[in-house]
């Protein structure tokens, strides 16, 4: 796992209080990890803070899984 993926995973675990082994690349925040719509907004804000990137609303709407988040941040930082 890349450094970014590790940091994303840590944020998700901390914020949603889920087991680490559930936070896999394909895990959906809402369907698999029990997030509500407010959680997803908070996660996006936490990613922005951690990685110093800006995630506009339309991009945020397309970030549905852990893997989506990692991909977006990798691209934004590239």
């Amino acid at each position: 796992m890349s450094d970014i993926a590790e940091r994303v995973k840590k944020i998700v675990i901390d914020h949603l209080g889920v087991d680490a082994d559930k936070v896999v690349e394909g895990a959906s925040f809402i369907d698999d990890l029990g997030a509500d719509s407010l959680d997803t907004v908070e996660l996006v804000m936490a990613f922005e803070e951690e990685f110093g990137v800006e995630i506009p609303d339309d991009a945020a709407d397309s970030i549905l899984t852990v893997g989506d988040a990692v991909k977006f941040i990798e691209k934004a930082q590239a």
């Binding site: 509500d36 407010l38 908070e42 804000m45």
Partner: protein
């Protein structure tokens, strides 16, 4: 009951009559209190009187950058704001047909927009901590209307709608959002009324007296307390019965 020991509160407009009473009572119940106002000397005087557990935050709420930095400073210096009381408000009265853009904008900016911006700064940390009490001081006229105060009434009604929406969004995070709506309260503002005006007002109040700042402060303390944990999205009217809504 209503013990606020360990809680940190920020009160805007804490040098006005009602705001000062709110700050005093929150402090008396054990909270650490951040006092916001426009005049540093008045804030310093009140802070000196209250003693420990007090910080002051002078800022001009008509300046959007100052509102933002007020939120940031209060969050940092109080080490987390648990209770936010949006109390600061201004009036620029005049009959509607003669109301200028400037008077409309000034009142909406301070009463409603500053409330929105300051609350936005402080809501996210409250959500993260899974505790918060947001208390917006509106007015009976935000519900009933009042001739000569279209701007003020619009701003106060706006605060009520704002509070209800926010209350629904963040209830699951244990952050409550409520309003307190004072009726006629003895203050510098009502002190300017003449006897005839006062008589007219008292005739409309079943309790036959104006309210005191402490009457409003007591309602705020209740909503700030652990005992009010299940109350959100409400407007608590404190008006001696002049409007039963």
């Amino acid at each position: 009951m209503f013990d606020l020991t360990g809680r940190k509160a920020l009160v805007t407009g804490a040098t006005g009559g009602i705001g000062e009473e709110i700050a005093r009572l929150l402090h008396k119940q054990g909270a650490t209190v951040g006092l916001h106002g426009t005049r540093a000397e008045k804030l310093e005087a009140l802070a000196a009187e209250l003693g420990d557990r007090v910080k002051i935050f002078p800022a001009n709420l008509a300046d959007r950058n100052e509102v933002k930095s007020l939120g940031e400073k209060a969050e940092a210096e109080l080490e987390g704001v648990d209770i936010l009381v949006n109390n600061a408000g201004i009036t620029k009265d005049g009959l509607f047909v003669r109301m200028s853009d400037e008077d409309w904008d000034a009142v909406l900016e301070v009463n409603l927009t500053a409330t929105f911006r300051l609350t936005r700064e402080l809501t996210h940390p409250m959500m993260r901590r899974r505790f918060g009490r947001i208390i917006n001081i509106t007015s009976v006229v935000g519900v009933t209307g009042n001739p000569g105060q279209a701007n003020y009434c619009a701003s106060k009604a706006g605060m009520i709608g704002f509070s209800k929406s926010l209350a629904q969004e963040i209830a699951s995070r244990n952050v409550t959002v409520n309003c307190v709506a004072p009726g006629f309260i003895e203050s510098a503002m009502t002190g300017k009324l003449n006897d005839k005006q006062k008589e007219g007002i008292l005739g409309a109040i079943p309790m036959k007296r104006m309210g005191a700042g402490a009457d409003i402060a007591s309602a705020v303390v209740y909503l700030a307390s652990n005992e009010a944990a299940y109350v959100t999205g409400q407007t608590l009217h404190v008006n001696g019965g002049m409007a039963m809504i």
